[in-house]
Subunit: 404 residues, 2 copies
């Protein structure tokens, strides 16, 4: 008789953002007159840049003509996009990454959750706490995480690395011996950034301990401080210990277009086995490439005009971030992030639990944020607001929060 | 120290179509003057239908305007598409399937390979032999298949159900007790179809034995015989034992646009656990939905105009199929398929091994097909040709084959 993957049944409740969506829908149904401002889920609001729209139209037209129609894409991505990425995201920053080390996909969420598949079932994972839930949940589904304690909100076999105000939201090197270490900088949810020195310390640690760093750089476009690293491959030795994930969702508003990529250097090995061919095999077997028209859209992001346009989008979001940060600080909140990342991470007032603050803000101000506890136990008493709304909504949200 | 998923290392050689691609590229490099005709990989050649192109342009324009821009899609697909699918693919055929049982995705390959994740690691799988390699390979990666014998070309823990001319390429009900049974009709690679009675027998068998049928109906649009079932849900009781996969790749030429869907009825259970919430959880955790513009393109396939246009595409491919079938029969080949499916399945001449026939055809006729052995041991001495080329190329391929 067929049975289910029991690991799925261990997952507590729903995916964080589904839970928030449900709560908001229920509140709206009960209060149809309310005008809710969504600063919860990290979805963008600005339309796709004009040069990307043009590229999409051109590619659509190509698909409508027999001479230019394209069927199955190359498994790992079109050469025109992989080459552009390698040149502009890496070589131009002095990172030694070649086009055939780039794996184009439908987004960083897919890649971040699927990457664990190519590793051993008994590999110990370490995550920052708080953390993007996908890293943990995908390992729960694969059976790597042991048992869940609803009391502590933690899994018995996961190594949690607390990131709090005390350590500037950058984890300490773990005393345990993790095999796979998830890092995300600029950080979701805390908005923290990491210096090149501290990132180098992680690379050195991983090399010394035979660990693999899974580095999520989805928010690199939000870095304003020129001293901060955009890629882990800016660190010495990273080609021997790190996989990097990138996304078009936040740097170019592709949340609804779906495009991302993963970098796996050819010499990167785990237990003596090269990882590049394994991930290539996964792509070849379980995936059929990102749509041609979307890959052309991705290419347009790197054009002269495209770069200018998406820089303006990022700047607009960072204007929101700066506004939210400044105003919340002025209102007496303890506030982090928002300087090199599109997320504001604030301490809940008066020691409120973060889900209580979520309900309070939803009901009293009709503003939706994300409760820090949803990202892990060290997120308790914290709360995330995103800068991805419109400026008008950011201003109105602050007005309402101040009026509380 | 990090280690790799050892199951990946058990996979012999490369994914079938990657191997073929490599062989063809090498031949072309050595013979730059050759004009190769590709009837190997099942990729379409006709451009996207005009009404779908229009829908794409409209959706692209929406993405370029703040008022109509769409960010993250609903995890399981846009309602407009799910509702259209439920109505036109199912309810209009008398199948009781509702919109919220449709999971929209980036293609049937992804879904067919990922579906095994929600089942127990010790579930025994049964596959037709020959078979689309993705069903087996995805289970190899998950550790369900035991050890590989290069002598027999089979896995120790997979139940193979031979499909040969002797049983009309429809597997017998297995004597073993598989938990998960992969079926694909109209069949890839053999081009065989299944009658409603024989499919009903599979449904009855699955219910009696607590097995789940994983029914790949990617080629249903190619059915010309009105008596044949397009969906497994045309069979009584199928809601209690079957998952169905569908694709836009072959019915509307979306191989380069990427769109498909999976149907999981709400009451479908394995070991007492409902499967619908598990697959929903997988989508929510590891996937971010198909691009909005591609979902609008999918919707357009179902419009009055769209339906007419894609019917003409299918008819053109089936004209090729009929031509290939008739001419090869006339040339003395033993030929199957090509009547309710876009694949021609022929017996290799003079008992040639199928990879030898592949090389022979590539070198002597510059025609690329797919060796049957690549689909499983019972595919040995068979060869697949697709009807997805142009008519001109189909004619030229036949001319060259006849001249051999």
């Amino acid at each position: 008789m067929a049975t289910v993957n029991e690991n799925y049944l261990k997952l507590p409740g729903n995916y964080l953002f589904s839970t928030i969506g449900k709560k908001v829908r229920e509140y709206e149904a009960a209060h149809p007159e309310s005008r809710i401002i969504r600063l919860g889920i990290g979805d963008v609001t600005q339309p796709i840049a004009p040069s990307v729209i043009e590229a999409l139209h051109r590619a659509v037209d190509e698909m409508g003509q027999a001479e230019t129609f394209r069927g199955y894409a190359p498994d790992l991505g079109y050469e025109f996009l992989r080459e552009t990425i390698a040149e502009q995201d890496y070589r131009s920053r002095g990172c030694d990454i070649s086009a055939d080390e780039i794996f184009v996909s439908d987004g960083a969420k897919s890649d971040c959750s699927n990457i664990q598949e190519i590793f051993g079932a008994d590999n110990a994972i370490a995550v920052c706490d708080p953390v993007y839930p996908v890293y943990v949940d995908s390992n729960v589904m694969a059976g790597r995480t042991g048992t869940y304690s609803s009391e502590t909100g933690t899994w018995s076999d996961v190594i949690y690395m607390p990131c709090t105000a005390e350590n500037d939201f950058v984890a300490e090197l773990p005393k345990e011996a993790p095999d796979l270490i998830y890092l995300c900088y600029p950080n979701n949810p805390t908005g923290a950034s990491i210096t090149k020195e501290r990132l180098q310390a992680w690379v050195d640690y991983a090399i010394a301990n035979g660990a693999i760093l899974l580095y999520d750089a989805a928010y690199e476009a939000y870095i304003s401080d020129p001293a901060l690293p955009h890629s882990i491959y800016e660190c010495k030795g990273a080609r021997g210990c790190a996989i990097e994930f990138r996304s078009f969702s936040k740097n170019a508003g592709f949340t609804g277009l779906r495009l991302g990529f993963t970098v796996i250097p050819k010499e990167l090995k785990a237990g003596g086995q090269a990882l590049h061919p394994l991930w290539a095999r996964r792509h070849g077997t379980k995936y059929n490439g990102a749509p041609y028209i979307i890959q052309r859209a991705g290419e347009a992001v790197y054009s002269e005009q495209g770069r200018q346009e998406v820089r303006q989008q990022v700047a607009a979001y960072m204007k929101n971030a700066s506004y939210l940060r400044t105003e919340l600080l002025a209102a007496g909140y303890e506030v982090y992030g928002g300087e090199n990342a599109p997320y504001i991470w604030l301490k809940t007032p008066k020691g409120m639990k973060s889900w209580d603050f979520f309900d309070y803000l939803l009901e009293q101000a009709n503003v939706v944020g994300t409760p820090g506890a949803g990202f892990g136990p060290s997120g308790e008493h914290y709360f995330r607001l995103t800068a991805f709304g419109t400026y008008e909504n950011s201003v109105e949200a602050i007005r309402r929060i101040k009026a509380l």
